[in-house]
Amino acid sequence: MYAVEMRGITKRFRNVVANDNVDLVVKRGEIHSLLGENGAGKSTLMNILYGMYAPTSGEIRVQGRSVTIENPLKAIELGIAMVHQHFMLIEPMTVAENVVLGYEPKKNGCFDLKKAIADVDKLARDYGLFVDAKEKVENLSVGTKQRVEILKALYRKAEILILDEPTAVLTPQEVADLFKVLRQLKESGKTILIITHKLKETLELADTVTILRKGQVITSVPVGEMDEAKLAELMVGRIVAFDAEKAAAPGEHKVVMALRGATVVKEKRAVLENVSLEIRAGEILGIAGVEGNGQTELIDVLTGLQKLHGGAVVLEGKQLPSARLTPRAMLEAGVGHIPEDRGKRGFVGGFTIAENLILGYHRRKEFDNHGLIRIKARDAFAERVAEQYDVRMDSIRDTVGSLSGGNQQKVIIGRVFAQDPKVIIAAQPTRGVDIGAIEYIHAQLLKMREAGKAILLISADLEELTKLSDEIAVLYAGHIVDKRPAKEYDEKTLGALMTGHAQGVEEKEA
C-alpha cells in the first residue's frame, strides 16, 4: 500500500500554473526525494499535501483513503507533518513550548509547562535527538533548530514527514547527523519526503526520486538506476557541465587587496581577530566557515561597511586611511561587492532592473548630470548589461523583486562586473539559485579570474568553494585557522576545520 498518492494535481495561482497534472506516489516506509529546480513546483505540491494550499483539481489518497486536506490541522490528523525550509519556530520561547504548540498539555485548564518539558525530553531521548527542552530556541544552532522541527512532527505522531530543502542551511557535519536521524526514522517505519535540488543528497539518501520540471513530473524512478549526470539532465532538461574549466590566469599574480591584522569587536567580543589575508590578481581566494564565525564581518570590512578596531586594509600596496573605509570610497576604488544576502543588501526589490543596475554607481559621470539621472544613458547601459549577463525578463522596467532568485543574482553580478572592478568580493554568489544559473555564475566568476581580477569568494557550499578557489582559508571563531591551496582540501577536512575539530583549534574552543 502507498502512504501517499497524489493523482492529477493541478494548482493555478492567478495565471501561473505551478503544478500541471502531477502524479506522485510514495511507498510506505521509504525515503522519497522530490527533485527539481527552483520554481519547478516541488514546494507547491508539498504545501498542497500539507493543507496550506487547496489544489485547483486532483485527488489525494493518504494510507489508501481518499481525503480532502483543507488545512494543516487536517494534515496533522492524517499523520502528515512538514519541516519548512524557513523554520516555523518562535525564537524567544523554549523548545518545549515550540514542540507542544497546538497540542498543549493542560492541568486545571491551564497550560502545563512542566509536563510539556517532561514529554519533550522523553520524546527526544526515545528518538536520540539531543535537545534540551528548557532551552530557548534563539540560543540553538541551526542544526538543533531543525531537530526541534522534527520533534514537533514526532510529537504529533506523524507517520509521513515532509522536509523542505532540509540541508540548505546545514554544515556538512549537521547534514550527516540529519541523514542518520532520517534513516533511523525510516527504520522505525516512517515515510519521508524530502524536497531538494541537490543531486548528491538524493543519491545518498533516497530510495525513490520523482523529478519535477516546470510544474510537471518528468519521471519517478528508484534511485539505484540513477547517477548524477542523468539526474541533472532530467532535472534541467539538457546536459549540464559540472566541471567548469579552470585554466591558470595569465600575467603576474600580484597582491591587489590585503588585510593586515584586522580585528573587529562586537558586544565586547572579537568577531574577527588579527586576520591577515591577501587577494591576488587572477586568483580566487575562498573563505570556508560556518555562518557566524566572522565571514560577515570580513565582507563588511573589505567593502567599507564595518569599522576596523585594529589592523589595516591595504589596496594596491597603499594602506587605506580609516576615512577611506566607507562603502562609497571602496566602490569608487574598484572593490565590487556581491552581498551574501541579496534581498537585504543586493537590490531594492521595488525598483526596476535599470535602476538597480546603477545603484551604488549612480554618481558616475555617465549616469549623473549634476544631480539629475541621465535616463537614456542608464537605460542603454541597463539593456546592454541585462543582455550580456543573461537576465531573463520582459523589460528593464520590471521590478527586480519580480524576478527569480537566479535572475536577481545575475542583475547584481552584471552591475558589479560591468564596472570593471579590480577586486570582487563575492559572498554566497549562488545561494538559492538553480543549477542553470549556478553553472552560469561559476563561468562568469572564472572569466573574471582569467581577466586578472582579484576575487574573494565566501561560500557555504564546499563543493563550489573547492571547485572555484585557487586557495582556501578557513575561518573559525574569528580566526583564520588554516590556509592552503584548494587542491589540498576535501570536503570532509574542510567541514572538520570549520567546526573547530582540528588540532590546534580545540584549545581555543574551550
Binding site: 495561482f13 496550506m52 494550499y53 488545512n71 496533522i76 516555523m88 525564537e91 513550548e97 497546538g102 498543549e104
Partner: protein, 311 residues
C-alpha cells in the same frame, strides 16, 4: 515634616488616580500587540468608552450599567479594528487613526443629539470611592489606598487577569506565538484569526474601561475630546512596559506621577505652559530609554498574516 509627608502621600495617591485610564488602555494594547495587532485606536476607543459610560449611566441612572455600556462600545471598537486589520488587511496604524477620527467626530455628533450641546454632557451618576478593609487602618498607607475607586480594584484584577491569560493559559501561549510568528502558528493548525480577534476585542473593552474611568469614575460627565492624548501615552507605555501587563501598569504609574507633579507645580513660579509639557516630555524621554532595554517587540507585530495562500 508632617506637611512634607502629606504632600508626598497626596502626590502618590494622585499618581495612582491619574494612571488608571492609561493603565487600562496600556493593558489592552499589551494584549493586542502580543497577538501581533498594533492598536493605534486606543485613543479613540477610550473616548468612545468615556462617552458611552456617561450615556449608559444617564439612561439607566446606574453607574455599573454605564460601565457595561462603555465596555460593549469598546468591544465594538475592537471588533471594528480587528475586521479592518485582520479581515481587510488594512495597515494597523491607518485603521487606528481612522478609529480615532471616527470617535472624535461620533462623540460630538451624539453629544449634540442627546444633550443638544457640543461641549459637555449632563451630570450623571458616577463611581464613588469605597474604603478598603484593612488598608484603611494602616497609617500613611490609608491616605493612599484607604479609600479607592472601585475601578482601581477592577484594574488590579485586570492586570492579574491579562497576565494569567498570557502566561498561564493555552490561549495566551498561542496568542504570544502568533505575535512572534503567525505562519508557525498557522502551520501547527492554530486558528490565527480567531485568536487575534479575541485579543483585539478584549483590548477594546479594556481601553473603553480606561475611558469610562475618566468620565464616570473621576468626574460626572463627558466633555469633548476629554481623553486628550492618554491613548497615545498608553501606546508608549506598552513599549516602555516591555509588552508585559505588570510593566504596563508600572509604566502608567510613572506617567501618573509626571501628570500629578504637573498639577502641583502649576501653582509655582514656573510658566504653566512649560509645566504642562511634563507628561509628554516624560513620554519621549522614557521611550528613548525604553529603546535600549533588552525586551523587544513581538516579531510579527503590525504584519499581515495570510492563511491558506490567500492574497
Amino acid at each position: 515634616m508632617e506637611d512634607m509627608l502629606s504632600i508626598i502621600t497626596s502626590l502618590i495617591a494622585g499618581s495612582i488616580r491619574v494612571s488608571i485610564p492609561i493603565a487600562f488602555a496600556a493593558l489592552g494594547g499589551t494584549l493586542s500587540e502580543r497577538s501581533g495587532i498594533i492598536n493605534m485606536g486606543l485613543e479613540g476607543t477610550m473616548l468612545i468608552g468615556a462617552f458611552f459610560g456617561v450615556v449608559g449611566s444617564y439612561f439607566t441612572n446606574n453607574v455599573w450599567l454605564g460601565l457595561l455600556t462603555a465596555m460593549l462600545a469598546g468591544a465594538l471598537c475592537g471588533l471594528l479594528h480587528a475586521v479592518l486589520t485582520i479581515r481587510f488587511k488594512c495597515e494597523h496604524v491607518l485603521a487606528g487613526v481612522g478609529i480615532n477620527v471616527l470617535a472624535s467626530g461620533l462623540t460630538v455628533v451624539l453629544l449634540q443629539m442627546i444633550w443638544d450641546t457640543k461641549g459637555k454632557s449632563a451630570e450623571v451618576a458616577s463611581f464613588s470611592n469605597i474604603s478598603v478593609p484593612g488598608l484603611d487602618q494602616i497609617p500613611v498607607l490609608k491616605d493612599i489606598l484607604g479609600e479607592v475607586s472601585p475601578m482601581l480594584i477592577l484594574l488590579a484584577i485586570s492586570v492579574v487577569g491579562v497576565w494569567f491569560l498570557l502566561y498561564r493559559t493555552v490561549f495566551g501561549l498561542r496568542a504570544r506565538v502568533i505575535g512572534e510568528n503567525p505562519e508557525a502558528a498557522g502551520s501547527m493548525g492554530i486558528n490565527v484569526y480567531r485568536t487575534q480577534y479575541i485579543c483585539v476585542i478584549l483590548c477594546g473593552i479594556l481601553a473603553a474601561m480606561g475611558g469610562a474611568y475618566m468620565s464616570i469614575g473621576d468626574i460626572h460627565m463627558f466633555s469633548r475630546d476629554m481623553v486628550s492624548g492618554r491613548g497615545f501615552i498608553a501606546l508608549a507605555v506598552v513599549i516602555f512596559g516591555g509588552w508585559h501587563p505588570a510593566g504596563a501598569w508600572l509604566g502608567s504609574l510613572l506617567f501618573g506621577l509626571a501628570q500629578s507633579l504637573q498639577y502641583r507645580l502649576q501653582s509655582g513660579s514656573i510658566p504653566p505652559q512649560l509645566v504642562q509639557m511634563l507628561p509628554y516630555v516624560a513620554t519621549i524621554v522614557v521611550l528613548i530609554f525604553a529603546r535600549g532595554s533588552s525586551r523587544r517587540a513581538p516579531a510579527a507585530e503590525g504584519k499581515h498574516y495570510y492563511a491558506k495562500g490567500e492574497q
